[in-house]
Symmetry: C2
Subunit: 136 residues, 2 copies
């Protein structure tokens, strides 16, 4: 959930985290970047969950302002933009991995996906390190 | 952010997690229960962040429906209720701890609180185990 750019001032680190990235649409954009190699506005719009254009535009702006993502011109097409995670954004990897582990324990729906969970179970440390290190 | 009780059906574990507990008010209630020993409606209402009564009532109902918390009569005062985390709720501890660690790295505000981070740094495994084990 957004708080319109104003951080609540309790000084609590849980609150800080949630004010920075803690709404489900923001985290879905982070998931697309971190785990699925997606990087354009169109990519995010095409995600299964069906984010609307106005929410997506708002969250991209917010994540950029928070220093979680950066926007740059696509070198292959100077008229379009790509997004990538900053180090601050890549450092969210352990949180995302813990969410996946938790869901693996508690999501009993038959169609629950487990492909990333398998990677975590196989080599959590290596997988996490690969997500946190700068891409190319 | 809530999705009004309906889970998005992508099967993605990140989405599942966010649909279950992933709005900042839900996570603040979980923080109060997990880290601060709070357990009544009045306790949650008194948290620094100033949650409103209607949002609090909604989130408590949601978390109960998701099996994250249970509501029971206060044995000391049969007219009031207390809330506690289920095992599914306590299993959120590693996610909360990773959020605290991330904020410790990236929250540069001078009033950022670090008391829980200190406990994590001292003995993460033991601290996490104590949070995840059933209370009394």
């Amino acid at each position: 959930m957004r708080n319109d750019g104003k951080k609540r001032n309790s000084g609590c680190p849980v609150t800080y985290g949630l004010d920075t990235f803690g709404d489900r649409w923001s985290l879905l954009v982070i998931r697309e970047l971190l785990l699925r190699g997606k990087k354009t506005y169109g990519d995010f719009l095409a995600a299964d969950e069906g984010i609307s254009t106005n929410i997506l535009a708002d969250r991209l702006k917010h994540l950029e302002a928070e220093g979680i993502i950066v926007k740059s011109r696509d070198p292959d097409n100077r008229r379009s933009f790509t997004y990538s995670l900053t180090q601050k954004g890549r450092d969210l990897a352990p949180i995302i991995l813990e969410i996946i582990i938790w869901s693996g324990m508690h999501d009993k729906r038959p169609h629950a996906r487990r492909n990333v969970l398998k990677k975590i179970n196989k080599d959590r440390e290596g997988f996490e390190a690969s997500l946190r290190s700068p891409q190319d």
